[in-house]
Amino acid sequence: MNFDIKKIRKDFPALHQEIYGKPLVYLDNAATTLKPQVVIDSITNYYSTINSNVHRGVHYLSQQATEEFENTRKNIRKYINARNTHEIIFTKGTTESINLVANSFGKKFLSHGDEVIISELEHHANIVPWQMICEEKGAKLKVIPINDNGELILKKYKDLITDKTKIVSVSHISNTLGTVNPIKEIIDIAHQHDIPVMIDGAQGIVHEKIDVQELDCDFYCFSSHKFYGPMGVGVLYGKEKYLEEMPPYQTGGEMIKTVTFKKTTFNELPFKFETGTPNVADVIGFGSAINYIKKIGIENIIRYEKELLKHATEMLSGIQGLRIYGEAKKKAGVISFLLKDIHPYDAGIIIDKLSIAVRTGQHCAQPVMDRFDIPGTIRASFAFYNTKEEVDKLVQAILKVQEMFG
């Protein structure tokens, strides 16, 4: 398929608005992406017609809701090439998916003196849940360090692994530095020691083609809202053998087989991990997002984004006094930078006034900021509906900032 950027931009209504009287330039895609019209339509459509609970009623609309909901699960299974549909668990986002695994896996498999490995470039969502469960269990949290380019140091990773290591959890792509981590290698190394690996794919699913069987990861999770779908929905993929053994994370309706006051038996996968009424409308909306992405083709998206990132990197590198943080050989989606002698907050305010949405601050990754000894960065993050012209507008805005604070 031809990659028709003009046509693609028409699919995203939020692109066509003015902020402070000028067209919006949206470069905060790592925080959340915009939604194509088909996604918005499918949510509206759900509430205007089907609007029924799933897995409960025999009535027509409830069955229809269940069918569409379960179709989305199948759709996602296929999209990431999981072996089984029941290995796809709906959550409310990446954060909840990681909490689920940290708690449930932790409860079952972690004991005093055990070890969990994460990395220095993780989002807080892939730090704190592990920290909490380790504290509870008396386990130790170990951290793979990064080098000055923002790449994981694999040699150090190998050294961290001991016979006490119970799980490794790292991100696929860093939301702060844009580093694409060598997850295949990380997984293979762990597997040589029979250690399962969880991948935080919040950014990974957006910029890479995911095949969980080929990767052989044991868990992979992501958020719908960073992948052109609605907010409030996430996915946890887990290998059946672990999910079967893990205890429920939360309890209530939907996930139950039989309940008496003496004993409750839990439903089978995936329902064991899906408590209460799920976010049906948004799950269905996420299904539409995936169909939309499939239509454009993730390969086309990756190719286009690569070119855009290259252009942006070249343009930004050309600005005097600008330093890019995160210069990994393999990068995607994100450029974090600072301007000499200008606080990122100051820059952010002016860039905002120029109708450009970027993010400033620590990006929920304080350890990364500490590693580089900086207060935060300005982060531009790209999606396939962004253009080189928009990158150039960012460059102009940066020059304006330098002029104002110079």
């Binding site: 402070y20 200008i342 606080h343 907050y345 100051d346 305010i349 002016i350 006034k353 400033t360 601050g361 207060p375 935060g376 104002m404 604070f405």
Partner: protein, 141 residues
């Protein structure tokens, strides 16, 4: 000058700017000219929490009036602090507590008040009023 008079002065000053760029340039200038806080105050003890940029604030009592000094690592934040200090420093605790700070709306800085704006204009004002309460209590003793 009374708080009200200073607020009026600032509002007039800002009414000269008809676009945001001039307004921010003015804030930046004011930020640059903010008298720096002494080094001993640039410690965690004086740090106001809830700011994306760091803000240090100290207060002392002199002849029944509160003297504020502050600093930040971001210039626009410093500009805003400068305004606050112009208004609230060298005033009695009672006057500080009663100040309505209407000028914020009038000069179009309201966006800095929202809780998501992590420069924490709100936290700064709160902290300044807190100091006023403390000094007032001390004076009453």
């Amino acid at each position: 000058m009374t708080i009200r008079e200073i607020e009026k002065e600032i509002t007039e000053e800002f009414s000269m700017f008809d676009d945001w760029m001039d307004k921010y340039n003015h804030l930046i200038e004011m930020g640059k000219s903010l008298p720096l806080i002494e080094k001993k105050y640039r410690t965690d003890q004086y740090l106001i929490s809830g700011c994306q940029s760091r803000v240090w604030l100290s207060a002392e009592m002199e002849d029944g009036k509160v003297i504020f000094k502050a600093d930040s690592d971001a210039v626009i934040t410093k500009g805003i602090i400068n305004l606050l200090i112009r208004i609230l420093s060298n005033q009695t605790p009672d006057n500080i507590l009663n100040a309505k700070m209407d000028f914020i709306n009038q000069v179009g800085l309201k966006e800095h008040l929202s809780p998501t704006r992590s420069n924490g204009l709100t936290s700064m004002i709160k902290q300044m009023k807190l100091y006023a309460v403390v000094f007032k209590t001390k004076m009453a003793q």
